[in-house]
Point group: C2
Chain length 297, copies 2
């Protein structure tokens, strides 16, 4: 083991209307014994408190798209979320030389994704973590999201830490707190903390050599007309079927006039974030992924 993990931050409310992380952060803040372990310190943070007060995802721009290194050092970016990003970078980072070794950023989706652990970088620690979490929580899905980006080009909050992951749990409507979703988020967070403790103390159990995962390819948009108005929606065969294979020719969208648009790619893809509410403003329909394996030596 080369780098023990000595400082951990648990972040809720990066999006102000994703309630599970906001309530879980509060619970951990009031009961630090729930997240305390012997080999590292933990702090918690509500990342976007003003968006939460307004019951919105964000006030001016999506906070979880503000953490590219060049943006964090650009003094011309001054709106609320751009300012919060700089403050969080100072508190938990600075990115590239962070005082925080591991960031756990808690998110909800309205999509039917269950408990999903999103890894933004490749590397031995991430592979061990993925194998451990999947072994302890078989319902978890491991997602490699944009691991083809260099860390400095990543816009996500969790990339401010030396290591960082997203705990993404759904389906949960915005501004709702569901017991089942909260419990799944708590369970996954506990497994991550346990993993760090075992990793630091060199006590990891034997882990599976191969762990199934998905890897992000690209996002696709809803059907729109030349004026940018939506002219269709996600086909009901796809709705709620996150992670299930879409084959060439399968129904993908249905236009409001009833016309069905098939998937026109030539490879099988696995969708995530299907019809996510937060994408109302950029007309994203879903993300496409491939199936991969995470291999341990």
């Amino acid at each position: 083991m080369t780098h023990p993990i000595r400082t951990v931050a648990i972040v809720g409310g990066t999006h102000g209307n994703e309630f599970s992380g906001i309530y879980l952060e509060k619970r951990y803040r009031e009961h630090p014994e729930l997240v305390a372990r012997s080999s590292f310190s933990v702090r918690t943070l509500i990342a976007n408190p003003e968006a939460h007060k307004a019951n919105k995802r964000y006030l001016h721009s999506d906070l979880n798209r503000q953490f590219r290194t060049k943006d964090l050092t650009d003094p011309s970016l001054t709106n609320y979320e751009q300012s919060r990003a700089k403050v969080i970078n100072a508190e938990l980072g600075p990115k590239g030389a962070a005082k925080t070794d591991f960031i756990i950023d808690l998110h909800n989706t309205t999509s039917n994704m269950g408990p999903c652990l999103i890894l933004t970088q490749a590397g031995a620690v991430y592979n061990l973590l993925a194998a451990y979490v999947k072994m302890k929580m078989p319902s978890a899905v491991i997602s490699r999201d944009e691991d083809h980006f260099a860390a400095e080009d990543h816009a996500l909050l969790c990339t401010v830490g030396t290591y960082g992951v997203i705990v993404e749990v759904g389906p949960q409507p915005q501004s709702v707190l569901r017991q089942d979703v909260l419990e799944q988020m708590h369970e996954m967070t506990q497994h991550i903390l346990d993993f760090i403790e075992l990793y630091n103390t060199n006590q990891l159990p034997e882990l599976p050599k191969r762990t199934p995962a998905i890897r992000y390819l690209h996002s696709i948009k809803l059907p729109m007309n030349a004026q940018g108005e939506r002219i269709g929606m996600v086909h009901k065969n796809v709705q709620d079927h996150d992670y299930e294979a879409i084959h060439p020719g399968d129904p993908l969208f249905v236009l409001f006039d009833g016309t069905v648009l098939p998937y026109e790619g030539d490879t099988v893809v696995y969708p995530t974030f299907i019809n996510e509410a937060a994408y109302y403003d950029n007309n994203l329909a879903m993300s496409f992924n491939e199936q991969v394996w995470i291999e341990l030596p």
Copy 2:
């Protein structure tokens, strides 16, 4: 038949982030043949366009709580939704002497309520409508909501018409458009229009003498502390189980410390709007209802 129904209004977007009605109104506006019938005229309306542009339920206050007769005539009520209510009352009403005989107001809920037809008043036309819709669409639930209020004390938009109903379909997260939910809303709206046509032309088929329905009793709040902060949430046994009986002693809430709070009433109740996202600001947990029958002579 005493009063034929000659003018019908179909209203979407009374809440700006309930997308099914907003898209259905647009479709009906662009394809009026979908709602045209021989015996009445139809107009459509987006009630709260600024809230929709802001992707919010409302800007200043809930539009669907602004239609009490005394509020509509109170010049001191001037915020955006209070102003929209006065304009809509002038366009479709005035309440109590309306130029619109029948208003269909299209709504979504994040709760698992399926297609629900909400009646706000009692009376022979409502009873016939309920029997017809339930016969044509067995998955529909008929809800008598606050039928113990006089019409002038009703705050709902649909009460501006001589007759008015709410088509309430869920579950759908705010700011999401689901094909299945849109189809259910379209189907129920079509049944209502067909009913009006058959009623006007004295061609109603034989209808069931008894139609099951629920009747609103009262709403209950989430557990809160003295500071008004939520200290618990809807129990997972109740979540998504709209319309299913809650018996005295059944789990109702779970506090964040794990304590289960049972239902403490002494009669069986049937919940609706369980954990509805829009009630984040007033901490409502759900509505309680009783089972009733709608009887035809």
